[in-house]
Amino acid sequence: MPSATVNSRRPIELLSRLASDEPEVKVRALREVKNQIIGNRTKKLSFLKLGAVPAVAGILADSADDVMDSNCDNNNVNNILVQSATVLGSFACGFDAGVQAVLDAGAFLNLLRLLSNSNEKVVDAGARALRMIYQSKLAPKYDFLQRKNMEFLISLLNSENENVSGLGASIITHSCKTSLEQKALFDAGILRKLDSLLEGGSLSQRDASLESIAAIFKNNPEVISKFAGPEIGRPLSSVIDLVKDRYPRTRLLACMCLIVIRNTSPHFLQDLGIKTTLIHILLELLDDPGQVGYEAPFAFSSLIAQREDIQKLALEANAIDKLHHHLQKGPLHPRHYEGILLALADMCSKLESCRSKFLSLQVLNLVTDALTDNSADVRTAACICLKSVTRSIKVAALGAICNVVVDFTTRKSIFIQCGGIKQLVELAKSMESAVRSNALWALKNFVFLADNRLKEDVFSELTASMLSSLICDPEPCVQEQALALVRNLVDGYINSIEFVFAEDGLILGAIGRQLQSSSKAEIGIQGMYALCNVASGNEFHKEAVMHQLFPQTGDKNQSYMIKFLLSNDSQLRTATVWTIVNLTCPSSPGASGRLEKLRNAGIVSQLKNMVNDSCVDVKLRVRTVLGQSMGFGDN
C-alpha cells in the first residue's frame, strides 16, 4: 500500500498516536513500535532519540495504576501493559543505551509490579523486560543481604513461570559479586534450587542456572567445597553432563562454569578426561555462528591462562591450527577477532613449542594485519599476541619481527606503545650473538626513513655507549648490524647526524676504529655509508669525518680508504667514493683543504685509475669527484 500507510508508520507519527486517549489507538501504536524495533538496532536508536522510552514508560505507569481501578476494562489495560512492557524490554535487549533510557524513565519499579499481576501474559512481559535489563551491567545492584530481598528472590526462583525463574537467575548472575553475598545465597539454599533447574528445567532455565552457579562459585573455594562435599560427584555432575548438551550455548555456559570451579579450587576436576573434553568442546564451539562462537575463545583463554599443562594438551589438540584457521576466514566480527588473538597470546605465553608452531604456520602475518584494524580492542589484542610470541629467544621470531617493522608509521607507533622498542633493545643485550644481531636488524629497519621523534625514542633507549660497544662487538655480524643501524639513524634530516656526536663522539669514534681494524667488506660498507651520511652535513661534520679517515697518530700513512678503493667488492668501492664526493663538495668552504689532504694520501691518483671502473655507480661517482676537483684548479 502506498504513502498514506507508510507515513502513518513513521516514528514521529507513531509517537503522537501513543499519546492518544483512546486505548485501541494506543495499543495499535504500541504494537507498531514494538514490531518496528524488535531485532532492529538502528530503529531502536532512532526511536530512542525521539524520546520514545519516556513516552512508553509513562503509559506503563498510568496503566499499572489503572489495574487497581476496578472500573477499567481489564482486557484493554492488560493489552497495554503487555505491549508497553514488551516495548521497553526490547529497548533493553542487548542495547545499553536502551537499558539506561528505561531506567532513567523510572520504569523499573512499574515493571516489578507487573510480576504480581493475575494475568499470565502480563507477568511474562514484565519478567522478560526485567530479564533484559539484568543482562546489562547497567542494571541496578540487587542487595541480597536484606532478608526481604532474599525472600523475593527465592519466590522468583520457585515460580513455575520460566521467565520469572529466569529473572531470578539473571539477578544472581548480575549482582552476586562479594563472598559475603555468595555465602548468603548459599545459606538460603539457592544453589540447591539452581541445581534442580539444571536437571529438570527448560533450556532457558538451564542456561540461566549455569550462569548463576558460576557467579556464586567464583573465587569462593569455601562455597564450592561446602556444596560439592566429600562426594564431589552429584551436583557437579549435572554441570559436567551439560558440557555435552545438544545446544551450543548450554555447552559453552557449562564449560565456563567448570572453568570457574577449576580456577577457584584447582584440586577439583583434575581428571585428565575433563581437561581434554573442555579443550575439545571449546575449540569446536569456535565454529558456532553468532554470540557463542564469539565468546568461546574468551572461555578458552580462561581455561589455559597460566596453565602450562593445559596449554600442552591444547597444543596436542591442534588448538593453534584451529585458531589460525579462524584468522584466515576473514572478515571477522571484532569480538571474534579479539578473542582469537587473545587465545593465541595465551597459548604462546609459556611454551616454546607453541611459539614454534605459531611461527611455522606463518600466523604472524595475520596477527600483524590486525595491528591496523579499526577496532581498538582488536589492535590491543594483536599487540598482546605479538608480545607473547616474541618472548621466544628463537631467532626465527626476531627475523619475522624485522619484516614487520619496516612498514608504515601507524604500525610503528603501535609497536612502540606495546613496548616493542624496549624489548628489542633488551634483546640486543643478549648473550647470544644471533639474537643481538637480529634485534639490531629489527631496530635498523625500524628507524629506516623514520621521523626524528621516532629516532630519538630509539636512540634514548639504546644510548650512545651501548651502540658504540655494539659497533665494537666481538662478533662481525653484530658489528655489521650496529653500523647499519647508525647509517639509518643519521640518514635524512641534518639534525639526525648529531647522534654520532653524543657523549663526546663515542659512536663516531667507534666507527672509525672499526673501519680501521676490520677486514670484512660488509663492515666496511656499512661503516662507510654511515660516514658518508655524516659527511653530507655541515663543515663541522665533514671535518669530523676527515679526522676519522685520517687519524693523526699514523705511522701507517696509508688510510684504509685506499684499501677500500682497491676492494673487489663494488658496494664497498661505491660507498667509499660517495663519501669522498660529500667531503669534496665545492659548496662547502673547507672543501679545497680536504681535497688537498686526500691528494696527499694518494687517493686522488687512485681515483684516476678508476674512471673506467666496471661498476657504473663507481665510475659515475669517481668522475663526479674528479670533476669537483677540477674546480679547485688542479691537474
Binding site: L203, Y247, P289, G290
Partner: protein, 243 residues
Amino acid sequence: MSLFWIAIRQLAEIEEQMATSKKVITREEWEKRLNDIKIRKEDMNKLVMNFLVTEGYVEAAEKFRIESGAEPDIDLATITDRMAVKRAVQCGNVEDAIEKVNDLNPEILDTNPQLFFHLQQQRLIELIRNGKVEEALEFAQEELAPRGEENQSFLEELERTVSLLAFEDVSNCPVGELLDISQRLKTANEVNAAILTSQSHEKDPKLPSLLKMLIWAQNQLDEKAAYPRINDLSNATLEDPAV
C-alpha cells in the same frame, strides 16, 4: 503389521547381527528373528506424537492424543501459533509472520540477527516479485542496509538480494533463485526451528533420524552378510538377499 514396526524391528535385528559373523541369512531365519524382538507400543506412540507435533499437524496430534492416550510434550496451542507463522511466510506474508512471532515471543527476533535478516530479505523479495520497485528500493535502503551495517557477515547476501533490483527480467537473472518458492520454504523452516528452540523443543522430529539410522546400519551390515533388506522405506517390504 504397520510399516513402522517393520522398520524398527529391522533396525534392532541388524544391530544384533553385527555382533555375529554369519554370511548369508535366509528370509525365514530373518523373519523369525524379527518376530522375537519386542518393541513397546508406548515408544511407538511417542515417536508418532513427536512427529506430528514437530511438523505442526495440530488436529492430527489432538486426535491421536485422544485415541492413543499419548501425551504431547508441548502445549498443542503453541503449535497452532507456530504453524500460523510458518504458513504466513510460505504465503509470502512476511510482515504478518513477523507480527505473529513477536506476539508469540518477542525475544526470538531480538536475539536472532540472522533470522531477522532473512525475514527482512524475504520481505524485499516479495516486494520485487509483486513489481513494487519503488517501495522495494525504499525498503532496501531503510531496512536492509542497516542490517549490513550492523553485521558485516550479512553484506554478501545483502548484495545478492539487492542486485535483483538491477535486472529487468528478474526470473532469468543470476540471482533468480531467490524468487523461487524454495526460498520462502527455507525462511519458513528457519522461523519454525527458532520458535521450537525457544520453546525448548527439538527442531527436528525423531522419526527421520531413526530411518537414517536404519539405512546406515543396513549399509554397514552389507559388508558382513547378505540378508533381507528394506530398500523402499515407504512400504518397508523385505527383499530377499542376493544369493
